[in-house]
């Protein structure tokens, strides 16, 4: 997985590509925590992600519960990945 992070005053944009498997998700978690601590909104650009693991879904659920709707979202996932969020019941997190 490749990751680039861009931060503005209000939003941190995580641009990811490749496989977001368990190890990659666990590596990403501290970065997400940093964003939470800074009180910023977080956007995950998923346009180049082609696999996600349940670990990432769990992180999403945790953050969703912690931050509430609208502060943490997935942008432009491929259809296969959008369907994963749909089946997992986390479609509220997907934008686009």
């Amino acid at each position: 997985m490749n990751l680039s992070i861009k931060s503005s005053e209000e939003v941190i944009i995580f641009s990811l590509s490749g496989r977001l498997d368990t190890i990659a998700s666990l590596e990403l978690e501290p970065e997400i925590d940093k964003g939470t601590d800074a009180g910023k909104q977080m956007e995950f650009d998923f346009s180049d992600v082609n696999y996600i693991s349940s670990t990432f879904l769990r992180i999403c659920l945790k953050k969703y519960k912690e931050l509430g709707e609208g502060n943490f979202w997935i942008k432009s996932p491929k259809p296969d990945i959008k369907k994963v969020f749909k089946i997992a019941g986390l479609e509220k997190l997907v934008k686009g």
């Binding site: 368990t22 696999y51 693991s53 349940s54 670990t55 879904l57 296969d80 994963v84 089946i87 997992a88």
Partner: protein
């Protein structure tokens, strides 16, 4: 039910839902690799799990449970390995239909005490093959061996990169908790193998369910049969795991003309015919008059144990106890299903009388399950089969092993045998991976030629009746 238990169930279902979502990304190759790893782990642990199951449940014997574990792993795998269960599974240019297999979602597997480890491995394999997460709900008297079987499978699945939580198991749940689990909106299907009450609860939960029914298998040795062979097969089947398989023969029907020959052969092969007093004594230990059901105390017990419980003495090397009976029904307890090496025996006047008796037996608690015949008369075999209400009619083979499939015929190997609507089930099939898929059909434009040729004008003319419309519709076709 307390909040904590409710939360536990929520957590189980949430994990299963995530596993279902992740599984959706897997292709056929990945799925097949997981199924292969799990079957191998199950097969490698066949003896350990069989011993654990026999020891914990005190039913059957470990040697036959090894064989059941082999059926549930190796034979099931051989049946599944080349099946397409992911994405496009068939394409027919002629009809313009393309079939797509989609997973159904989280499955709850209810496990019986009689075949715990084998049923678990079987259900796990068919669930994984169809990309569905599975939650194992063990029987309280078989929880240790059940959890170990599930754990072994999960470890193997994870080693082949299966989705996390694709296999979960619950510790013993109260009836209320099980009902809550069954009714959970995130649950897709219940695979219910067990007693009638439990299967009924599954069907009543509002969640789709594939259940089984009780058996009361009649076996008819018709006069054209090879008697020594038929008797050998019957005893082989009835004694298997001390009679715990619900497809095992419960009552033998023979015509009077060959009755003495059959009896002699049965005695020669280890059957002990009970006298009326002994029959009553066995009935007392094998039957609960109050609930009108077999006593769990005799289920899967050996002949020696049952004889000792009943206080009767039987010759050494006796393999089954045979109760010669006349009536069928509630007044005659041993005409019902008893999952132990106890067999009812009926003499019939002729072919028609034999069929009448088999109908009565079949409808007395075993409707939709299995019926068995030994015969070389094709016409009689077919007549018998049509008269039975049974998902499986096995011919010239041991019923226990025959109904389960693969070994003696080409039925799909399964430890969940559908009993049709009369058995309160939705299918008569041997349940397998194909039942755990939603099949989507892409349909391409193929205009119906007759409809096009006829047009719709005639339908608007009230004087044109159905006969004319049928003729016109099929004109020149």
């Amino acid at each position: 039910m307390e909040e904590q238990q409710k939360q536990q169930i929520e957590d189980i279902l949430e994990r299963a839902t995530f596993a279902a979502a992740i599984f959706n990304q897997y292709d056929q190759q990945q799925v097949d690799r997981i199924v292969k790893a799990v079957y191998k782990a199950g097969l490698n642990n066949r003896i350990k799990l069989a011993r654990m199951a026999a020891e914990e449940t005190k039913m059957g014997n470990w040697q036959d449970k090894v064989k059941k574990n082999v059926v549930a792993t190796q034979y099931v795998y051989e049946n599944l390995k080349n099946q397409k269960t992911v994405g496009i599974i068939s394409e027919d240019v002629q009809t313009g239909i393309i079939e797509i297999a989609q997973p159904i979602g989280p499955i709850l597997a209810v496990i019986p005490v009689t075949n715990p480890t084998s049923t678990i491995m079987f259900k796990i394999l068919i669930a994984l093959k169809s990309r569905n997460p599975i939650i194992i709900s063990p029987h309280r008297r078989a929880s240790k061996c059940s959890i170990e079987a599930a754990r072994i499978c999960y470890e193997a699945a994870m080693s082949a990169d299966a989705p996390e939580d694709c296999i979960q198991w619950s510790t013993h749940k109260s009836r209320e908790e099980t009902q809550h689990l069954m009714q959970h909106p995130k649950l897709a299907l219940i695979l219910a193998t067990g007693g009638t009450g439990l299967v009924h609860e599954a069907y009543s939960s509002g969640t789709p369910a594939l259940g089984v029914g009780a058996g009361n298998v009649p076996v008819y040795i018709e006069k054209s049969a090879d008697i020594p062979f038929a008797v050998g097969q019957l005893i082989h089947s009835k004694t298997f795991d001390n009679g715990t398989i619900c497809a095992s023969e419960q009552a033998l029907v023979v015509e009077k003309e060959i009755a003495s020959k059959v009896k002699e052969e049965m005695k020669r092969q280890g059957a002990y015919f009970l006298n009326p007093e002994e029959t009553k004594a066995v009935e007392k230990v094998a039957w609960f008059a109050g609930s009108k059901s077999m006593s769990p105390e005799v289920v899967g017990q050996s002949v020696e144990k049952i004889a000792s419980m009943a206080g009767i003495s039987v010759p050494e090397n006796t393999r089954i106890l045979v109760a010669p009976l006349e009536k069928i029904g509630d007044d005659e307890p041993l005409s019902s299903e008893i999952l132990a090496p106890i067999l009812a025996f009926y003499e019939a006047d002729d072919f028609d009388d034999a069929i009448r008796k088999c109908i009565d037996l079949n409808y007395h608690g075993g409707i939709g399950h299995t019926a068995s015949i030994f015969s070389y008369d094709e016409e009689k075999i077919r007549k018998f089969a049509i008269m039975m209400n049974a998902g499986r009619v096995v011919v010239n083979m041991p019923s226990s092993q025959g109904a389960v499939g693969f070994m003696y015929n080409t039925l799909e190997p399964s430890l969940t045998l559908g009993c049709g609507t009369y058995g309160k089930n939705i299918t008569t099939d041997n349940v397998s991976a194909r039942h755990l898929l939603n099949i989507q059909r892409i349909t391409r434009r193929r205009m119906n030629e007759r409809m096009v040729n006829m047009g719709f004008d005639l339908y608007f003319d009230e004087s044109v009746d159905a006969d004319t419309l049928e003729t016109e519709f099929n004109k020149n076709y």
